[in-house]
């Protein structure tokens, strides 16, 4: 468990950002689920729960999701449930339990850039922009590969509500971290294929996307096995993940086909 000398319930983004910069150890507190497990020695814990950053605003084909929106709100919000086949709701529903998902936040999930992230896998299959208080806006894939600098993720903007999309994951037991995650989405001829928890950070597979575009599902399955890097950890070996990747892709494509067009 971390320790904190002071706890700031920030009353503005400016105050929160300034507090974060004041001391190397000052740390932002979102859902606190992950932070709780660290042994950080924090001078000021900066709480952004009072800044109204938990709203979810639909605007046509776009969703603006506040960083402090809870994962459970992605399951219950009607706009999210109806967005791109409900892929975001589906992606979070196996993360621990409801009481956990009432705490853990969208901002925390994105900021952590965790390889095991269910939500990042789904967000990469749509067009997601990350909005930072200081550094401004950038596409999610750019954010995921940028060096980490202290900032505040205020919200994300997700475009692609009319995409058809599907999400699947494999877990050894319900509520455990995923062994592997997969998301696919389609708009017209434009496919997206994302594999996550490999166990590295979620990534798209371009050759699989092109193969699905030409209707060659078997080539797409081969492409995710050949082109992406897999690794082993206590949940699964590299070879097992590589094999399962093809199976999950096939399941996701089947699921997408079964759900009918949302375009």
């Amino acid at each position: 468990m971390f320790t904190a000398k002071t706890y700031l319930l920030a009353s503005s983004l400016e105050e929160a950002y300034d507090a974060l910069q004041k001391n190397k150890t000052n740390t932002l507190v979102a859902g606190c689920c992950w932070l709780k497990m660290t042994r950080k020695r924090i001078w000021t814990a900066v709480d952004i729960s009072r800044l109204g950053l938990d709203s979810i605003v639909p605007d046509g084909d776009t969703l603006q999701i506040g960083a402090m929106a809870s994962l459970h709100s992605l399951e219950t919000d009607p706009a999210v449930k109806g967005f791109a086949g409900g892929i975001l709701s589906e992606a979070v529903r196996r993360i621990v339990g409801v009481q956990f998902r009432n705490c853990a936040t969208v901002g925390g999930c994105v900021w952590m850039r965790a390889g095991f992230s269910d939500l990042l896998t789904a967000l990469l299959a749509l067009d997601t922009t990350v909005c930072l208080y200081h550094a401004g806006q950038m596409p999610l894939d750019e954010f995921l590969t940028s060096p980490v600098k202290k900032d505040i993720l205020t919200h994300i903007i997700v475009r692609g509500g009319q995409r058809r999309a599907a999400y699947v994951s494999m877990r050894l037991t319900e509520t455990d971290f995923p062994v592997l995650t997969a998301a696919v989405s389609l708009l017209g001829e434009d496919w997206r294929v994302v594999l996550g928890a490999r166990p590295g950070l979620a990534a798209r597979c371009e050759r699989a996307e092109n193969a699905l575009g030409t209707g060659d599902r078997d080539a797409a399955i081969q492409a995710v096995r050949d082109d992406l890097r897999y690794g082993g950890n206590l949940r699964a070996s590299e070879a097992y993940r590589r094999q399962v990747a093809g199976v999950l892709l096939a399941r996701a494509v089947e699921k997408l086909a079964g759900e009918g067009a949302a375009e």
């Binding site: 689920c33 709780k36 814990a45 529903r93 339990g97 009481q99 956990f100």
Partner: protein, 151 residues
């Protein structure tokens, strides 16, 4: 720091350590139904409600609860006792260690999804681990309790 937290309807106006978690606040002021299990956001044993929503008190900063209403098992005792009797009559409880968090989750489910299907109930309660029951008897008791409209 100073906080004002309402627990089961009673206001607690207290000075707390800055990094105190809600579970420690609640236990300090006598709400011993709130138990520590994994303490790593995994088991659901420490479940309480903040503004009627189930949360993990082991991972919820007490400072954040300032100005909010917290409900523990002690605050819903009559309702919890009815469900407890259904559990006992169906052999759904063994050592009982997981019960405080489980009961809080079941009563939250009842409020959030009236008349859930078994699949919905199973999914809602997935975050409450039990090392004894094997879950089957627990689920039977939950469905019986919800279906028969025990109040």
């Amino acid at each position: 720091m100073k906080v004002k937290i309402k627990v089961n309807g009673k206001l607690f106006d207290k000075h707390i350590p800055n990094d105190m978690m809600l579970i420690d606040f609640l236990r300090k002021y006598g709400f011993y139904s709130v138990k520590r299990g994994c303490e790593s956001s995994n088991c659901g044993l420490c479940t309480v409600w903040v503004d009627q929503k189930p949360v993990l008190s082991c991972s919820y900063p007490a400072a954040r609860a300032d100005g909010h209403e917290v409900t523990t098992l002690e605050g819903v005792l009559p309702e919890a006792e009815v469900f407890g009797r259904v559990m006992a009559s169906m052999g759904a409880e063994q050592c009982g260690f997981c019960s405080p968090g489980f009961v809080m989750a079941v009563l939250a489910l009842k409020r959030e999804i009236p008349n859930p299907t078994e699949e919905q109930a199973r999914e809602y309660l997935a975050g409450n681990l039990c090392r004894c029951s094997g879950y089957a008897s627990q689920m039977k008791a939950v469905m019986q309790y919800l279906k028969e409209g025990y109040q």
